[in-house]
Subunit: 142 residues, 3 copies
């Protein structure tokens, strides 16, 4: 049984959903040594999220962005936490709705995503940010 841990830094793009599967896998070359295990991803921020969704058609990411812009709007009259900008409080809300931690199975040296699944970094602030993800691997090696 082995544990390993690494902090991965990704500079997000402006507000939106982007696929980071390849960046994550590239940084975690050790995964290939695990027969069975779990990859834990934990985002150390409260105005961004990580999620798993469609890895093919980019309009899925656009529609997700537009949905969350509409249903977690800026400038709601009851918002009190406004001093960091109108994009800040919606970012915190989206962070709690979408979440900041994932557990992905590892099987035969690879993460076991479905055919159409990709790992998303969801940037909820207007501008790009340096985002830190703690990646922990636990499992049984070959």
């Amino acid at each position: 049984m082995s544990f390993s841990q690494k902090e991965i830094e990704i500079v997000s793009q402006k507000k939106g959903f982007s696929i980071i599967t390849d960046v994550i896998i590239e940084q975690l070359s050790d995964i290939k040594n695990y027969k069975i295990g779990i990859l834990y991803l934990f985002l150390k921020h409260t105005s961004a999220s990580i999620s798993i969704n469609e890895n093919a058609d980019p309009t899925v990411r656009e529609d997700l962005l537009n949905y969350f812009e509409k249903y977690v709007p800026e400038n709601e009259p009851y918002y009190k936490h406004t001093f960091e900008g109108s994009d800040d409080m919606p970012a915190h809300i989206k962070s709690t709705i979408i979440g900041n931690n994932l557990t992905i199975p590892i099987s035969n040296g690879k993460i076991e995503l479905g055919t159409w699944q990709g790992i998303y970094l969801c940037e909820h602030r207007n501008n790009p940010h340096r985002r830190k993800i703690v990646a922990t691997i636990n499992g049984e090696k070959f």
Copy 2:
């Protein structure tokens, strides 16, 4: 310390929330050998979800379905990802809101759900689908 992993296939019912606790437990007879551990469930799809909610009154599942139909509607004017049908893009959005991965404690040979908790498979497409869940167990055996 032991790891085991199994893919479970469940044919979902039409759009809605259904309880799959018994199906999961039946397929994972090994759980009874673990004194302490974690059951990881990972759904390999982007238009369905897994969640934990009330295991008793079926109207909870009906109300959940109707809530999500209203608040993640079909045919929003800004949707671009529409070629797979009007139920497809809402399915992706619900998938990111509800999530596709769970970690459930194992204690003394059983999963440690609360009295009123059940595991849900949430089908977001109109029609039934074959849905695959990777179940991983990690823990200390008796």
Copy 3:
């Protein structure tokens, strides 16, 4: 490699979001013995949630409460599960949106939260409740 597990009981405040990071850490003094690991938190209820969000400005918690009150409203005309009070069905919905399980990395004897992150107990019922969280630690000790 070691596993340990403990049930923590917290009496929630009335409906709202509160920070429980210190309560959790106090109850889990064993964390300091782990070099690498994961803390799993699992809430055994279907009308409350756990989440991670901003640990500083209390208006973030107020705005979260008000957002969810508006977007997961009481008394929707289609609700059928109403016999436990008008706050009950929205509580179940919020529970599925926000979730009841978290995985937090442990690194060098401490949980590895970002600077601005705190662990939240989200009470969705009007009145305080006794809420049980199963905390499991798995990792490599020093």
